[in-house]
Subunit: 284 residues, 6 copies
Amino acid sequence: MFYHIKELQYHAKPERPDPVYAKKLQEVLGGQFGEISVAMQYLFQGWNTRGDGKYRDLLMDTGTEELAHIEMLSTMIARLLDGAPVGAQEEAAKDPVLEAILGGMNPQHVIVSGLGAMPADSVGNRWTADYIIASGNLLADFRANLTAESQGRLQVARLYNETTDPGVRDMLAWLLARDTMHQNQWIAAIRELESKENIVVPSTFPKHLEKQEVSYVLFNFSDGDQSAKGRWASGPSMDGQGTFQYVKNPQPFAKKPKLKPAPPYIYNTPPSVMRQDQIPPSLS
Amino acid sequence: MFYHIKELQYHAKPERPDPVYAKKLQEVLGGQFGEISVAMQYLFQGWNTRGDGKYRDLLMDTGTEELAHIEMLSTMIARLLDGAPVGAQEEAAKDPVLEAILGGMNPQHVIVSGLGAMPADSVGNRWTADYIIASGNLLADFRANLTAESQGRLQVARLYNETTDPGVRDMLAWLLARDTMHQNQWIAAIRELESKENIVVPSTFPKHLEKQEVSYVLFNFSDGDQSAKGRWASGPSMDGQGTFQYVKNPQPFAKKPKLKPAPPYIYNTPPSVMRQDQIPPSLS
Amino acid sequence: MFYHIKELQYHAKPERPDPVYAKKLQEVLGGQFGEISVAMQYLFQGWNTRGDGKYRDLLMDTGTEELAHIEMLSTMIARLLDGAPVGAQEEAAKDPVLEAILGGMNPQHVIVSGLGAMPADSVGNRWTADYIIASGNLLADFRANLTAESQGRLQVARLYNETTDPGVRDMLAWLLARDTMHQNQWIAAIRELESKENIVVPSTFPKHLEKQEVSYVLFNFSDGDQSAKGRWASGPSMDGQGTFQYVKNPQPFAKKPKLKPAPPYIYNTPPSVMRQDQIPPSLS
Amino acid sequence: MFYHIKELQYHAKPERPDPVYAKKLQEVLGGQFGEISVAMQYLFQGWNTRGDGKYRDLLMDTGTEELAHIEMLSTMIARLLDGAPVGAQEEAAKDPVLEAILGGMNPQHVIVSGLGAMPADSVGNRWTADYIIASGNLLADFRANLTAESQGRLQVARLYNETTDPGVRDMLAWLLARDTMHQNQWIAAIRELESKENIVVPSTFPKHLEKQEVSYVLFNFSDGDQSAKGRWASGPSMDGQGTFQYVKNPQPFAKKPKLKPAPPYIYNTPPSVMRQDQIPPSLS
Amino acid sequence: MFYHIKELQYHAKPERPDPVYAKKLQEVLGGQFGEISVAMQYLFQGWNTRGDGKYRDLLMDTGTEELAHIEMLSTMIARLLDGAPVGAQEEAAKDPVLEAILGGMNPQHVIVSGLGAMPADSVGNRWTADYIIASGNLLADFRANLTAESQGRLQVARLYNETTDPGVRDMLAWLLARDTMHQNQWIAAIRELESKENIVVPSTFPKHLEKQEVSYVLFNFSDGDQSAKGRWASGPSMDGQGTFQYVKNPQPFAKKPKLKPAPPYIYNTPPSVMRQDQIPPSLS
Amino acid sequence: MFYHIKELQYHAKPERPDPVYAKKLQEVLGGQFGEISVAMQYLFQGWNTRGDGKYRDLLMDTGTEELAHIEMLSTMIARLLDGAPVGAQEEAAKDPVLEAILGGMNPQHVIVSGLGAMPADSVGNRWTADYIIASGNLLADFRANLTAESQGRLQVARLYNETTDPGVRDMLAWLLARDTMHQNQWIAAIRELESKENIVVPSTFPKHLEKQEVSYVLFNFSDGDQSAKGRWASGPSMDGQGTFQYVKNPQPFAKKPKLKPAPPYIYNTPPSVMRQDQIPPSLS
């Protein structure tokens, strides 16, 4: 169960409105690696954790904090939209600053949300749960979390350079720091799980059931052999259970497949037609 | 540029048709962490790599192999659908085996694809590029790749147990081994990049610009303190640049926000209405 | 900013697992009118409210409660999935109860979420922000909220009848009661705003700018005149500013449109081709 | 069955082309609350109405009219795109008016639709049936209809101010008036159903089966008590069957949940790992 | 502008309810090639036709008819759902017929639509405008129309065999015939446009601007040379303006690309890291 | 199985960066008819072809070539984005060229992909498998292929005119030529299948089972009779098995449908309410 207090976790006040930047900032609110994604991902992982304890607690701590980040970003975006101009483009074209604003805004910030933040990214794609995962396997999921915090911090860093507003930069500096922590924390948790289990997920699937002769082989499917120079191409494997091998000219292990015809009630191309490889006389 | 040979990388032949399993197997072909996802993710990362060399080569090697896995799974699914029954449910209900097949199949395997594989997951959601990422930052992206291979291998392991068909299991054993390699290789590449850069992505963003006082703090937003027992709550941070701290009762850093009214031409709720907190006499 | 406590707002414990019902119950978690929708809708409306006061507070109160409902449903679904069977369909076909379970489950509850709840509906569509709205106009938005609670309670009522499990029914009885409150509260808030403004949204758009001769007219575009028997077809309009009229045989107000040809650099069908209405001799 | 006449219901002719405005106007054609949404929503509700009579007739009347509105908007958008410029951005940059047009257009209006309207919103999201509902419960559905007409009229009002073209404004004045009627008519229909049934949807679910002790309670999950000042916090409930209560400090009704471990064949994090809350020696 | 009459274009009455078949039949209502797709596609093409005349008229004729097909299918689906059973799975498992029905139904037909048709396909994906096209080039669009009618008739044919209900089959026989006409009519229109223009779309793009040396070449990118046996590999090209050639071993025309590094403010992997192809000592 | 070589099939090098054009060019990479669509469509059709031979080979040849086109476009887009400016809009507004660039770019090309190509279209919609089809019936599918190549070439032609960069135009000239070939080849394959089967898909559905009296009838559902002037309205049908007829005033073949009430456990509007067509006294 949740409680809400009206104070913000951190300041979210720009020095001046900037509706064009509001559009861009949507990316880290409602984009693939925005705050909605991490909040929902951590909370669902937390709720689905089968077993109590510190991992579940950590997920709920962090997921709950991310809700506060959604709130900060929504507040910031609404303020960046304060008093956004609305007008006919022709008139705007006479004033280059005004025109730049009108041309670069997200039109839905006027028409749909009435100068409010939207659960969408910087080009207007609405947030979708396609972005997140909660698999029940914490090592797999913590890797997804580290990915999200890495991509997220990268995006915030890029956005930092697209504004000079001290208020916006102050808030982004906060988010950058929190993403530093969150990358650190998931790395810590990953190291712990890897040391308890094994680095290959899932660690409990019986090793002998996989086709072990290709478990540590790099197939060179791309011409050239620069990939042979990597740590992944020779030496002991990272999981300590094998030796990396490099196969320069990978060959197929199986023959050409040939599928049986479909039964007639499927109305596919009839087998007789499929078999005639010559060109019909009328067309040749 | 690509060349195709008609042989399969590995066998993809079930011992007998099983249209219900064909539906499930779609998950690792066209689902969030299926083969289409990894193929497209690695290829886009490869094409976007700014700089030549082993990382680009590795991405192209692996992305090209994943195309062969899409092919194997498509072939396997088509064969699992061989001669799938089509019929009225009422008649089927008299034969429990037939009925189980009809009830558990994906109806689109008959109606839409004509007993062919689809670029969709196990419940019929079509594949979408929302699943993938290529950010230009290889460390961030390799973490996404490790995530994809971890979730993917987990799903294949679960699917292994949902069939007893030796032909299917043989192919899944192949995929499990390849996912073992791919997890190992991305871990190797990640370790290498981490050792050259820093574990926090992006490593080139100036550290002093982030709000460093909260860069290593775990805020306990969830009651109870089990999360304090983790490696992430005390000791040196994983990036070696700070010390983890645990804040038991996190407080807000900013005041309650209050947004300005919208201009009249936005037609939001008028400010006068918004300010009236008492109940109108007619309603009380 | 939010805080989380680990206790549930209300009990979420079934008497026994029921993976088929878990699939159905997803509808009110991650469907169009599920708990994710109302939580996100109310929170975004609250954050975007331009002006402090009771409406913003009410939105935050209710949005925060809905987060607890997501949690309850996630917990319930995970428990309904406890120990879900996994097996080959052919073997299952011998045991009708087992078979019914396997055939009726969502396969992603095994393969993707590992017996956890998903942010998806009862057929597996992932949640999308296409479902929600926050427009900045509270009267418009509260009507959306009343809609969501009406559709939501309807769906819960239908689900109540699809189970006999006392634990599930107990939780649904809670949700039904809360939806009763939420319908009541949005109706109260709507009545208040309607009494302060006007029933037509937006109330601040100047009345004289709309084409008032058709502001209260019902056009009978469907043959028969049963719609003439409704309150909407005669008498004073609901907003008290006009009189309903019924037009039995509506006629167009404008001529047939004829669009100009596209410029050549668009490569549309050339105007000369478009103008030739006769059949070419070679085809007639 | 439908018949089409070529005349438009109302004029749809701008005074001059304006491709930037064409992009914005797409919102009320193919957006969440655009004309495609209301047309499809009313028609599906009509077709699904179980019972003949005035409600079905009203739905078909209005749904059929909305098809004419799609037609008017498509015509208007095609005309706003008449002779839209196409050119290299660099050259355009020399002419600020031309540049504003090129920068603000939807590129798909040239590349994809060849200067035609698209079934998409103002940022290019294609229309999706996720936007609509037809539940079989008319009171629930008419509330959805009132919502759609409220949001739709709000969007048209905002768009009215974003142009000065008399031809466009003339058409929007028509749509505003029709939305006034449609809000009035759905309110009339809602009042009628509420007077026949009850205001809580669905009215036929047995009252005693819901958890009535919380049917009229406002839980104050957000700090502060401004929400206590509303009509929804005290006095008789709107449905006349209870009394509103305000709970200042809401407490959980249920204990912390603890989920059982998953069976081994799910390959989740093993229970033994989950239980170890101490930090492994190698990491501390 | 449209008018609706309440009679159906053709009968849509099953002999008996069949909720499992209702789910399947959704494919040709709300699927990729269902009636919503063709209705919307033809109407948008008609509205966007720049020029009056027979093509626009034909599009409006057929688009308007397809609205009647949506109506017939919606009616049929609602009737197939008449009195659909709702119940706990465990009880159902005792009755194999009941169980088959419950297991094979779309749960949303109960929970969401209340025994009504939905704008969705046979697995529950909601209809999206991603399925359709209106490009302004009629030859390109009529080919899309022929495609839609071909895929649509194929799906109806498959559905015909999945039921024995005479009422359903009677309606499908109608749709099959109409699809026969629509395939014939689009072929007629295509032949006419091809004879007026050229078979290559767009016909007005200056031929000399394309790289003509590869305009009629089949590159054999797949091993084996079965494709050389087709009409497409030798002889005059279909447009009469060239000669088909077969290139057995296609070679690249351009060198390996090498992308420049990104500027530092993009925070991609730093160029120095990218250049180091050796394995760091600590990892080797 | 596939092999990759690092050379490009054709040059993909612009003379100078143009980030605005990069956004537009995305349409033919990741849009509805972009290169991802054709690659995936042809490969899935190839893998699903039940029968070996020239059709399967042709599909694999062409699908494999399209992978090379994805590669060329990704490379071109990355180069068009080289050194794209990033900056505050206000400063940009002082420099009209810079401003035009910033306003017209896709913000995700900076924030998300770090100056790389994305699997998305020109407005940022991510690629989805909703765009493609593989039905098992080659005639139906080849028509889809011809459609894709027609729409695709049309889009490339439009893009050709939106740039003056010789490097970009050189690459587009290549794509235009390849689309010329691909249109020619699918037409050749279609003619061959039509000559072997019949022009109506599926050719194997028994003719006598369709409602033949309407198999060649054009219903004039749109007023006016311009559509009567087409080849489709009179003379022998294109399939040679009937005679086109034109019905000027089409009439319905079936009566008004009336659906039965839903059972009470569905909680639809109660039948009693549905039947009351008079206005309740309290509202009149």
